[in-house]
Every structure is written in structure tokens, then in C-alpha cells.
Subunit: 327 residues, 2 copies
């Protein structure tokens, strides 16, 4: 019998880990890979950037909407975006996976493969992990990153007069999720052709733009974050940490034709996806006025004195993004 | 109303994180603490040791048997033991916490406080985390450690003729768990007086012994691990990685009077707890023959050629330790 069609209880924890690790190469930053009490990763400049995220089945993903492989790739993307948003490059991922004992081994293997392939594409290793029994599938990923001698770009560095800019797509993941939720798209194979649904399943953060914002020929970002909770929420974090406000341009944030078309089918305002949709993992940040924006970045507003966000001068009120315990 | 008596859904993710972080000091290894996309931790010798573990309610802990504070302290201990077992010292912890929306905020706060206090006692920071919605309480902890210029002690370094030794207690956590499981102890306050139950709730790994094994006046360990799955299982990992066998001394591993007394009440063999009980997080390792063992270490056997474990010459067979998907 194909072992992937057996359950995780039948295959066992140690065999699952062995199979997840087997055949995966490690970059030269992995000084000691999985298999001992801890892994050892190079931290070339004596500092390590580190972030962690937990994805829960039914809350952050559905296995009838995303393949296990998609879930693994998305987990890597959202963690990688966090270290790129500091101006660092990911070196290593650790993965803890909880699942019910009757989960097919193929689910665990798919998630592991997605994580492994996405990490490898970034030049990073998967250096450790854990597989445990839980009532639902839970994927907890930690990423380590190397600043390679650069100063980190913090959320607290925005200054009044700076240009607010984004790199990457906004609202497309939220639109894809709305399509799935509305049942307009079935869980059958044809979904894969819808680019918005594909973005929801596996975002493609423009990692090179984050590095260009710290190391490129253009201006250096004074603050940066990835858009995980929604543009207004994440820029709001920069405002709070930097003790500034921001005025955004409605025209620069207009929903494109793809979003408008889908919004009409579902009967919602596509602008909400652009302003409050998370999970695209675009990068948003601020740059000194008068400097050229790095490649891939587009101006969407200006940093102003005060606090909070406004659009074309009108203050934004109400819920602006993802909350873990919202209904 | 006391906010701790409200549910996590009422308090909200961001407020929970703010309250978990508030008032907690950071060691000087924390170059940038929580609140940005990633934290930044010093890695003084250009390497970082890293390990992760996931604890699931009902599987790894029960909130009627352990307080939230206990759960947090135990999560830190088991992760810290992993980096000490490499010869490293913990510098930072990251915590992802999943829980149902109707969980009392006091549960999340208790776990956070236990983690924070235990990390602080180790001189380490809690530098990041995540709070998400899940069907049960799930605590995922990642630890970073600093080797401080030392060579890591691997599981693969045991050599034929080496002395096998342990530092710390064996079987006491398993005995405490057996007491709780047998219902001999109630969940009322009086439990706290039973030292075996207390060890199950919060192990006290002899961290200084792990460092003495790499940096002390005695012999340097040729291999080391922490005892998390059970002594035979964890020494078995050293045997596999080092391609050696081990013969242990039954006399050196005899259950003490505390264990014998409890085993008689429950009607089991206390020797099983010593040999296969996990979660004490003792340290086990091997040392060159003829060198003095570091303080706190006791000889329990010898490394021999071949493979597998034997006790007084008799091969050990059958299940020897914790399996994540055992019934």
C-alpha cells in the first residue's frame, strides 16, 4: 500500500519526520540540519531576525479550498515576508505540525513538501520541526533571517513628509477568498485557473522589492511592513509606532478590472478588498521625499503629522483589518 | 470587570499580545523585541542554535491538572533543555498560541506569564509570538540559543568505550502523570504537595550540568541529549546517530523509594518510569573513559560496539518511549 494513503497514526511520527526531511538539500547557512536536539544556523553578522506564525485549519485555510502543498507554500510566504520586511533574507524555517491521528499521511507530506520547496526557492533550509497529535491541522512556522550587515527597517522610522508606497498586489487574495466563500468557485480543479483564487491559495510577495528598499539604487525605506492584516491596518501599525498620520490617495488605490469584475459577480465593493484585505503580503513602507522610489514601488500617499489614516483627507474609521477572534 | 475574567474574543488579539508583552524586560541579547514584523536577536559567535516544540491541550497537558502558568513554564523548560543539550545557552523564545474564542483571557495570560518568568530566569527574552483562534489550546514555542564559541555536542559523537552518564532525575514526571491519571490525586490544591506531580507539571532540568559537560573541569561530553521521550528512547537516538550500542547497569537505574512507594499504590513496575518515562528533561550523554565526570553526572553504563540498548547484557526490546500518535 502506498504509505501516503495510510494515516499519520499508521505511519508514525518518526517515519513522517524522516520522510519529510529525506532528500531535501540544505543551504550552506545550515551548519547542522534536523535530527539533533537543536539545529544550528549561520548568523553571518552576529544578529538573527526571527518571526513566527501559526495557521489553523478552518481558520486560516481549508483543505477543500487549498491543497496541502498550497498550505505549506503559503506558510513559508507569510513568514518569509516578515523577515524581508525588516530588510533581512530568510535562512531557515522550523515547522511544528499538529494533526488528528486519522489524517492521511499525504496531507502531512504535502504540507512538508510545500514548505520544503518554497524554502528551497528562497535559498533557505528547513532545519527542524515537530509532529504532534491535535484535533485539527495546525501549522506553526518560525523563520530565521540574516540582515547581512544592513540596518533593520523598523515600523517606527516614518517621518512627516515621507512618501508612502507599496510594492506588490493588494486585495487579490481577499477577492479570491470571497470567490471561494461565495461558492462561485467550486473546489474542483477548474479553480486553479482563476488568478485571484490562486493568489489566495499561495501569495507571491515581491521579495526583491523589499530588498531593493534597503539596498537598491533608489531611496532607502524609512519604515516598512508586509501587508498581512490589510493595508490600512498594517500602515496603521507604522503610524502608531512612528507617531505620525498618513493621507492616502484614493486614485492610487483604485481596484483594478479583475477585482471590479469579481466584486460585481458577488455584489460587494472591491475597494474594501484593496484597503482591508490581508494575505497578499505586499510590502508597504515610507521613503524620504524627493528620492526616487526603488523598482517595483508605487506612491500611494504621504506621511503627515498627527495620527491615524485618511484617504483624500477624509479620516478612516471602523474596523480596518483582520482580527484573530472576530466572528 | 477584571479583564482576565473576560474571554479572549472579548479582549481581542492585539490587547492580549500587548498585555503579554507589557512590563517584561528584555536581556541585552534582544536587539529588537516584539512589535515589528520580526524581532532581532544577538548571535554573538555568528551561529544560532534553534529548536521548536508544540504542546497540545489534552495531549501534552490538561488544564485541570496543570495551571496555565505551569504549562508556560513547562513549555520553556522543554525547549530550553533542547538547546542546553547542544551545549548552548537560550537567548530568546517565540510563542504562538492558539485557543478557542471562549477561552478565559486569564488562561492566555497565565501561559504567557509562565513563559515570560521562566525565560527571564534563564536570562532569555520572549521576542515574538502570535495569538490565533483554534479548537483547543495549542502552544508552539521556538527557542534560540547561543553556543558562545563552543563546539556543539551532537548525538553522533559517542565512541565505543565511552562512559554513559545522566544528570538529573528519571521517571519522576512519568510517576507524577501516573498519579494524576490514576485519580489517586485530585485536581484540588493538595496535589501541589506531591513532589512527583509537581515535577510532571513543571520539570526542572539541571541546565548547569549540561553546560558543565561542555565547559567544566571534568571530561567533555562526546554526545548529549535531553531525556524527553524516555531514557531508552533518547539514548537509542544517540546509538543510531553514533552507530554504537550501549549496555546500561540495572543497579544504577534502580527506582528510588519515592517511585517505589507510588508504584505500589498504583500497582505498576516503577522501573518502567525510570527507563521509558519522558518529560523530566534530565540530560544523558557519553564521556571519554578515564576522565572525571562533571559535577552532577552519574555513570549508568558503557558504550559498546554494535547497535541498540542492553541492560546488564540483556537486549532491550519493545516500545521504549513516547510516540506522538500512540493510542
Amino acid at each position: 500500500m502506498n504509505p501516503s494513503q495510510r494515516t499519520v497514526a499508521e505511519v508514525g511520527e518518526f517515519a513522517l519526520i524522516r520522510r519529510a526531511v529525506a532528500g531535501r538539500s540544505q543551504p550552506d547557512t545550515t551548519l547542522l540540519g534536523p535530527g539533533d536536539d537543536a539545529a544550528i544556523v549561520r548568523a553571518s553578522d552576529g544578529r538573527v531576525a526571527v518571526s513566527t506564525d501559526m495557521l489553523v485549519q478552518g481558520r486560516h485555510f481549508r483543505l477543500d479550498w487549498s491543497s496541502p502543498h498550497d498550505v505549506g507554500r503559503k506558510a513559508v510566504a507569510q513568514n518569509a515576508a516578515d523577515v524581508f520586511a525588516m530588510g533581512a533574507r530568510p535562512t531557515a524555517f522550523l515547522v511544528s505540525l499538529g494533526c488528528p491521528p486519522d489524517t492521511l499521511a499525504s496531507v502531512v507530506e504535502g504540507i512538508s513538501a510545500g514548505i520544503g520547496e518554497a524554502a528551497e526557492a528562497l535559498g533557505a533550509g528547513v532545519v527542524g520541526g515537530d509532529v504532534v497529535q491535535a484535533d485539527q491541522v495546525v501549522v506553526s512556522v518560525t523563520v530565521l533571517g540574516d540582515l547581512e550587515g544592513r540596518a533593520a527597517v523598523l515600523r517606527s522610522g516614518a517621518r512627516v513628509g515621507d512618501v508612502v508606497a507599496v510594492a506588490g498586489e493588494l486585495g487579490r487574495s481577499a477577492a479570491g477568498l470571497a470567490l471561494l466563500s461565495a461558492g462561485v468557485e467550486s473546489s474542483a480543479g477548474a479553480d486553479h485557473d482563476n488568478p485571484l483564487v490562486a493568489v489566495h491559495r499561495v501569495p507571491s510577495p515581491p521579495y526583491h522589492c523589499a530588498l531593493a528598499a534597503v539596498d537598491g539604487p533608489g531611496g532607502r525605506a524609512t519604515s516598512m511592513t508586509d501587508v498581512s492584516d490589510g493595508l490600512l491596518a498594517d500602515l496603521g501599525h507604522i503610524c502608531e509606532e512612528s507617531r505620525v498620520g498618513m493621507d492616502l490617495s484614493g486614485a492610487a488605490l483604485r481596484a483594478d478590472a479583475d477585482l471590479v469584475a469579481v466584486a460585481e459577480r458577488i455584489g460587494v465593493d472591491p475597494q474594501d478588498w484593496v484597503l482591508t484585505g490581508g494575505e497578499d503580503h505586499a510590502f508597504a513602507g515610507t521613503f524620504p521625499a524627493g528620492t526616487a522610489l526603488p523598482a517595483g514601488w508605487t506612491q500611494i500617499g504621504l506621511v503627515r503629522a498627527g495620527s491615524g489614516m485618511s484617504i483624500d483627507g477624509t479620516p478612516v474609521t471602523g474596523a480596518v483589518g483582520w482580527q484573530s477572534f472576530s466572528v
